[in-house]
């Protein structure tokens, strides 16, 4: 792997680590879920770069899409509960 293809891959790796860190350490739940979904999409790209399109498809559909939707639903439910009991 020489010069040119390496740069986007490095950027992808750094972006993965950044979104993973923000997803774990963001205090507010909703932005954390957004970072988690962004992490999932970037991970799907990483799988494509590793020439594993099957895993990339599964990651995009299940990891980012459905898990993101599940987490969003959980956040919405938690928020409703907080408002009920101040």
């Amino acid at each position: 792997m020489t010069g040119l293809p390496l740069a986007p891959d490095l950027l992808l790796g750094v972006a993965l680590l950044f979104t993973a860190w923000r997803a774990l350490y963001t205090r507010a739940l909703f932005p954390a879920v957004v970072f988690f979904v962004a992490f999932g999409m970037l991970l799907a790209l990483a799988w494509m770069r590793l020439e594993a399109p099957d895993v990339a498809l599964a990651e995009a559909a299940i990891g980012a899409g459905l898990t993101g939707a599940l987490l969003m639903a959980a956040v919405a439910r938690l928020r409703g509960r907080d408002e009920d009991r101040p």
């Binding site: 099957d54 599964a58 559909a61 459905l66 599940l70 439910r77």
Partner: protein, 222 residues
């Protein structure tokens, strides 16, 4: 104390990383060229995409158990809460409603395409099922949730259909004198498509039901 725990966790994670790195560099099956083995027996698998051949034919047992795991997860969630009743036409914005009516047919079409494409290129039941589930969730969010009335009664038949068909095929191959899930090469392609078709439906229904999940959980708390 907290710093000590963090340090211990860091050491453990570093150890895990080392073990993982070591595992990755080791051959999968020592002394056997697995990619060549798969490529060599691809003709007998009924499909031309090696990943689908492994998932649905050579290691079909693993995929069957994956479907069972999904079913058990659904059983766990259903123990906690019933499906919520439909809210009817919920007041949702015009954009979401229009977007849903545009996207729903496309999502269903792409899900079926992914299933069909799985035979020759990346795709398959899990990816297609996840997409079909996304269509279901979009329909729910857009207030088109009348299908919940039917889902309430048909949940277990639909969710269990994938495993049932898979088991029926397994029993069939066993009683036909073969081994468990040893698909006969002449019919392997058709059998894989049938298994994946029902698995797609079950996966989609299960994932939508998991999303609906603990709808009534809050009401049960004191």
């Amino acid at each position: 104390m907290k710093r000590l725990a963090s340090a211990a966790l860091a050491v453990m994670l570093a150890g895990l990383a080392v073990v993982l790195a070591w595992t990755v560099t080791r051959p999968v099956a020592p002394g056997r060229d697995v990619p060549a083995l798969i490529a060599g027996s691809l003709d007998a698998s009924g499909v031309s995409h090696p990943v689908t051949a492994v998932l649905l034919n050579f290691r079909g047992y693993d995929t069957l158990l994956e479907l069972v795991v999904l079913l058990i997860a659904l059983a766990g969630v259903r123990c906690l809460a019933p499906l919520p009743p439909p809210r009817g036409s919920a007041p949702v914005g015009g954009v979401l409603r229009e977007l849903a009516s545009l996207l729903l047919p496309v999502l269903v079409l792409v899900a079926v395409y992914l299933l069909w494409a799985g035979a020759t290129r990346p795709g398959g039941a899990f990816q297609g099922g996840a997409l079909l589930a996304a269509a279901g969730i979009l329909a729910l969010l857009a207030g088109r949730d009348r299908f919940l009335w039917r889902l309430e009664h048909l949940l277990w038949p639909l969710a269990g259909l994938g495993v049932a068909v898979f088991l029926a095929v397994a029993a069939g191959t066993l009683s036909a004198g073969g081994v468990l899930l040893g698909l006969p090469p002449a019919h392997a392609g058709t059998l894989i498509l049938v298994i994946e078709g029902f698995a797609l439906l079950s996966i989609a229904v299960t994932l939508v039901a998991l999303f609906l999940g603990t709808g009534e959980l809050e009401d049960r708390e004191p």
